[in-house]
């Protein structure tokens, strides 16, 4: 069976500053696994380590049983992992369509690329209308669509999403969560970093809570909703 990701005893540091300490996680198939935690807990750092941007000091990362710990990002992507990074990071001087094409950079078949493009335009009709517009001139909400659409273009087996609703209106946040759920329903495993705890736990099956670089709680969404740590941290 597909085992999207196992993270074992991961230690990550920037220079001398230790950010993650002995992190252990499992991202399961066909479901949304979420990662909660306050600002500065180390969530984005964990994601950078998973995709190869910041290689860990110690520990291992497995994708479907295969050790991918110190692979360069483009090799990680080649395994079937796509990442929607913190802050969207769209290519602002490229058109919307070029951004999407960048998402499918490693796909060689033109027919396949075209099919995926159509699928993304199907999900976000707005992007189809604006395909020629420079991505940097799109509104914040539209840029969020570009970054999610771009993340879908490689047809990933595992999608890692870092705070997709940052800076969006409540209505758009809701729409975003709906789309992430539908991505998961098509069979893609999702690892979701979020600050909107209620909405996240509503769509996630399993979750972890990170604090100061350590996993301080984990469990099913139901368990986390009633967890005292989570209660204390988020629902006061």
């Amino acid at each position: 069976m597909f085992r999207p990701m196992q993270i074992e005893h991961l230690h990550v540091a920037y220079g001398n500053a230790c950010v993650l300490n002995d992190v252990n996680m499992e991202i399961g198939p066909k479901r949304i696994t979420c990662l909660l935690g306050a600002n500065g807990a180390g969530k984005s750092t964990l994601i950078r380590a998973l995709v190869g941007l910041t290689p860990p000091r110690r520990g291992s990362i497995f994708f479907d049983g295969e050790d991918i710990t110190r692979l360069a990002p483009h090799r990680v992507v080649a395994k079937g992992i796509s990442c929607i990074p913190e802050g969207r990071r769209i290519f602002s001087k490229m058109s919307v369509e070029e951004n999407l094409l960048m998402g499918a950079y490693q796909e060689k078949s033109r027919g396949e690329i075209k099919a995926r493009l159509d699928k993304v335009y199907d999900i976000f009709p707005r992007l189809a209308e604006r395909r020629g517009q420079l991505a940097g001139t799109m509104s914040g909400g539209e840029q969020a669509m570009v970054s999610i659409g771009r993340g879908l273009m490689p047809a990933p087996r595992l999608m890692i999403i870092d705070e997709p609703s940052l800076g969006l209106s409540p209505a758009l946040v809701k729409e975003n969560f709906r789309i992430i759920r539908s991505i998961c329903e098509t069979g893609t495993a999702v690892f979701l970093v979020e600050q909107n705890v209620r909405q996240t736990l509503a769509i996630a099956s399993y979750g972890y809570v990170l604090s100061q670089g350590r996993v301080i709680a984990q469990g099913t969404a139901e368990e986390l909703k009633s967890d005292s740590q989570v209660q204390k941290a988020y629902f006061g």
Binding site: V51, G52, L53, A72, P73, H74, V77, A78, S82, C83, P85, R89, I90, F91, S92, K93, M94, E98, L101, M102, G103, Y105, Q106, R150, P154
Partner: protein
């Protein structure tokens, strides 16, 4: 008037050469945020590579037609410079990526000296200027005192073709898209599956081929090359790239022509002292930079390619 036209024609020629050199500076700055100061000397390597090929062809295939000779000379120059350029990128510039930009600047300046000295010491009689062969037909059109030389027109056109090819590569191909992506956001590009090292090397190869072309063009235009020719060309190419706004390819091309225009203006306006045309041109660049610190093409300083 005719004198002025003549100056303009010569200025266009020079502008094309400068533009080709400036494109390299701006490409490298785009993908790696570094100034590769030795780029001018890379141009010189191109010219010497082309000359070596000419000598070799003369010795081995004395009867080779001019067309083939020219093609082989360009090819040899491109090859020599691409090898040097990608080696420099891989073993000097990539390892210095995490170092302060000033260190990279210094390292590439020293590399430029190494390249110049290598040619001076190891090329046969390298410390003296070398005659560069006339490889293009020497027809010309004469109108009064105005001369339009066929070989120069040909060089100018090929330079223009080169620029169009670079433009098409950057805007229309998958490689070009990856180069632009890396220039805009190197990490995001990697997350899309772009092999960063490969793209950097490809960019250096591209910039080098363009530089090689400029080197041979320089040789064909002046019919003489020397080990130090890259120094001034480098300074001019760098200035042109800065005038156009570093990182912007079209700005660099424009900058090349502007610099040549300034030189020409200097020569026309100061006929009694045309030796000062470079002083005039560089002085104007300094004045321009004081007025428009981010270059002529107005863009937020963070945007490139």
């Amino acid at each position: 008037m005719e004198l002025f036209l003549q100056f303009c024609i010569n200025g266009l020629m020079l502008g094309m050469m400068y533009a080709l050199v400036a494109v390299g500076f701006t490409l490298f700055f785009g993908v790696l945020d570094v100034i590769v100061f030795s780029h001018g000397d890379t141009v010189m390597i191109g010219a010497f590579g082309g000359l070596s090929m000419y000598w070799w062809l003369g010795a081995v295939y004395p009867g080779l037609s001019l067309t083939w000779t020219v093609l082989w000379v360009f090819l040899a120059a491109a090859l020599a410079v691409t090898v040097v350029g990608t080696l420099v990128a891989r073993f000097l510039i990539m390892p210095l990526r995490k170092a302060p930009p000033l260190n990279t600047l210094l390292a590439t300046m020293m590399l430029g000296t190494v390249l110049r000295e290598a040619i001076r010491l190891f090329f046969p009689d390298g410390s003296n200027p070398k005659p560069f062969p006339h490889l293009l037909p020497e027809w010309s059109w004469q109108s009064g005192s105005l001369t339009l030389r066929f070989d120069n027109a040909l060089l100018f056109l090929s330079g223009a073709v080169m620029i169009v090819l670079v433009h098409l590569l950057i805007t229309r191909t998958r490689l070009g898209m990856a180069i632009r992506a890396v220039a805009q956001d190197e990490e995001a590009a990697q997350l899309m599956g772009v092999n960063f090292t490969m793209i950097v090397l490809a960019t250096f190869a591209l910039g080098s081929v363009v530089a090689a072309f400029a080197g041979v063009m320089n040789g064909l235009y002046y019919n003489e090359i020397n080990f130090g020719m890259g120094l001034l060309l480098g300074a001019i190419g760098f200035s042109a790239a800065v005038i156009g706004g570093l990182g912007n390819i079209y700005g660099a091309i424009l900058g090349g022509f502007i610099f040549a225009f300034l030189q020409t203006l200097g020569a026309v306006a100061l006929p009694f002292a045309s030796a000062y045309k470079d002083v005039f041109a560089f002085g104007s660049v300094i004045a321009l930079m004081a007025v428009r610190p981010t270059g002529l093409i107005a863009e937020p300083s963070s945007q490139r390619v």
